[in-house]
Each structure stands twice: as structure tokens, then as C-alpha cells.
């Protein structure tokens, strides 16, 4: 019972905060709300017996990636300068087209939920199968990560290296300007 209540609280916070993220004019508020949403999601991960993913969510996502976003927003110092002007002039912000975009997203949600209703045993309790101690332990996660997924893990390190070089190259000022 308590667990069900927690589930609804966490998912409610995640959904409301995410909806507010795209409703904010000021990117700074968007980022803060997204951190709240990620915190609620990490609560859901704990309920799903994945405490390591929950901690990685808080540390990597809310801690590192969102700080990167915050840093860029502060660096550019352009919180909402365009919003008012573009609201008036840009065709995509006119009510009719904006409604069309919202309609498309609503259609997507209906389609996804419709597909989910038809999934087999979607109504089975999520924690019914498997050994909780084995699933939630970092030891078993690490063992699978470094055996079955070793190649993907090593490929990830190359991805990170390429992303780092790319970010430095893209953001560096061209010499002589």
C-alpha cells in the first residue's frame, strides 16, 4: 500500500516537473525542474530494485549533465531574450500551429498507451520474477557489465573520447578572430 502511494507520488512529481520544464520561459527554471524530475525518477528506480542506477541517475544526470547545462546557460547569459519577440512573430508559435504540435504529442501518447494495453502480462506485478538480492546488488551488475557487455563498455570509452575531442574543437574559438 505504502509502496503504491510512493509510486504515484514519484511518477506524479516526474510528470508534472517534466511538463513544467517545457512550459518555462527561463531555461534556468527549466533546468531546476528537470533536476526535480530526475530525483523523482531515481525514486522510481529504487522501487524497481535498481539502487545503483538510482545513484548514477542522481550523480551523473542531476549532478554532472545538468550542471553542464546550467554552466552553459549562465555562460551565454541569454535567459529569455528571444521569447517575447518570437512569440509574436514566429509562425510556429502562433496558436494554430502550436496546437498542432500539442495534438501530435497527444496522439503519440494515445498510441503508446494503446500499444501498452496490448502488451502481454503488463498487469503482472513488476517484481514478481527474479531474485531481488541478485538484481539489486552492484556485484551482479558489475559482473554482467564486465563480461557480457565488455565490448560495448570499451566502445563507450572511445565514444566519450570522441565526444570530448569534438566538444573542445567545436567550442574553441578559431585562432585569429
Amino acid at each position: 500500500m505504502f509502496e503504491t502511494l510512493l509510486f504515484y507520488v514519484f511518477s506524479g512529481v516526474a510528470i508534472v516537473a517534466s511538463a513544467l520544464v517545457i512550459g518555462q520561459r527561463n531555461p534556468m527554471y527549466s533546468i531546476m525542474l528537470l533536476i526535480a524530475s530526475f530525483g523523482a525518477l531515481s525514486g522510481l528506480y529504487i522501487q524497481l530494485d535498481a539502487p545503483f542506477v538510482a545513484m548514477a541517475q542522481v550523480i551523473v544526470y542531476a549532478g554532472a549533465i545538468m550542471v553542464l547545462f546550467l554552466f552553459v546557460v549562465m555562460l551565454l547569459n541569454a535567459p529569455q531574450e528571444d521569447a517575447a519577440e518570437w512569440d509574436r512573430t514566429h509562425p510556429l508559435r502562433r496558436p494554430g500551429v502550436a496546437r498542432f504540435g500539442a495534438l501530435l504529442a497527444g496522439l503519440l501518447i494515445i498510441q503508446l498507451v494503446w500499444a501498452l494495453v496490448r502488451v502481454n502480462d503488463a498487469s503482472a506485478a513488476v517484481g514478481a520474477r527474479g531474485d531481488v538480492a541478485a538484481i539489486s546488488s552492484v556485484r551482479s551488475v558489475g559482473r554482467v557489465l564486465f563480461t557480457d557487455y565488455l565490448f560495448a563498455f570499451e566502445a563507450t570509452s572511445i565514444l566519450i573520447l570522441v565526444a570530448m575531442v569534438g566538444a573542445v574543437l567545436l567550442a574553441a574559438r578559431e585562432p585569429g578572430r
Partner: protein, 100 residues
């Protein structure tokens, strides 16, 4: 216990919110944030499916998604900084030089 379908529906709603953000917002930073929302929605369904199957593979895919999200955020924000230097704007419609 909570059914698997509930987690999947939360994930679907989050994904649709992210999609709506990409469609509706005209600010590069907010569009990147919406992409992060979509990645997180998919992470949630990976972990929920993994838990329902009773193995750790869902969690491991989630780590890879997080890594890709970090790389994407770093490169995407570098591009945003570069674009802002050229046009002094974060509106994607300000960058139409390549448009025919």
C-alpha cells in the same frame, strides 16, 4: 505490487512530454532538455522491463544510455555555444543560412 504497465505508461507520458517540447519550444537549450526527458523516459522502461524479466540487463543498457546522453549533452552544448557566437541567438529559426 505495482504492475509493469504502470511504469510503462509513466514512461510513455514522459516521452510524449519530451516530444512536445522538441516540437513546441523555440529555444535550443530547452530542446536539448526535452531530449534528455525522452532519454530518461526510455531508461525508465528499460529498467522496468529488466526488473519484470528478473535480470540486470535493463540496468546495464541504462548505463550506456546515460553515457550516450552525457556525450550528446557535451557535443550539443558545444554546438549551441558556437551557434550563439555567430548569431547572438538561441532560436533555431535564426540559423537558416543553409536553407534554399
Amino acid at each position: 505490487m505495482i504492475p509493469l504497465g504502470h511504469y510503462l505508461i509513466v514512461s510513455a507520458i514522459l516521452f510524449a512530454i519530451g516530444t512536445a517540447g522538441v516540437f513546441l519550444r523555440r529555444n535550443l537549450i530547452t530542446i536539448l532538455l526535452s531530449i534528455e526527458i525522452m532519454l530518461n523516459a526510455v531508461n525508465l522502461s528499460f529498467v522496468a522491463f529488466g526488473r519484470a524479466q528478473g535480470n540486470v540487463d535493463g540496468q546495464i543498457i541504462t548505463f550506456f544510455v546515460m553515457t550516450v546522453a552525457a556525450a550528446e549533452a557535451a557535443v550539443g552544448l558545444a554546438i549551441v555555444i558556437g551557434l550563439f557566437r555567430h548569431r547572438e541567438s538561441l532560436n533555431p529559426d535564426a540559423f537558416t543560412s543553409l536553407k534554399w
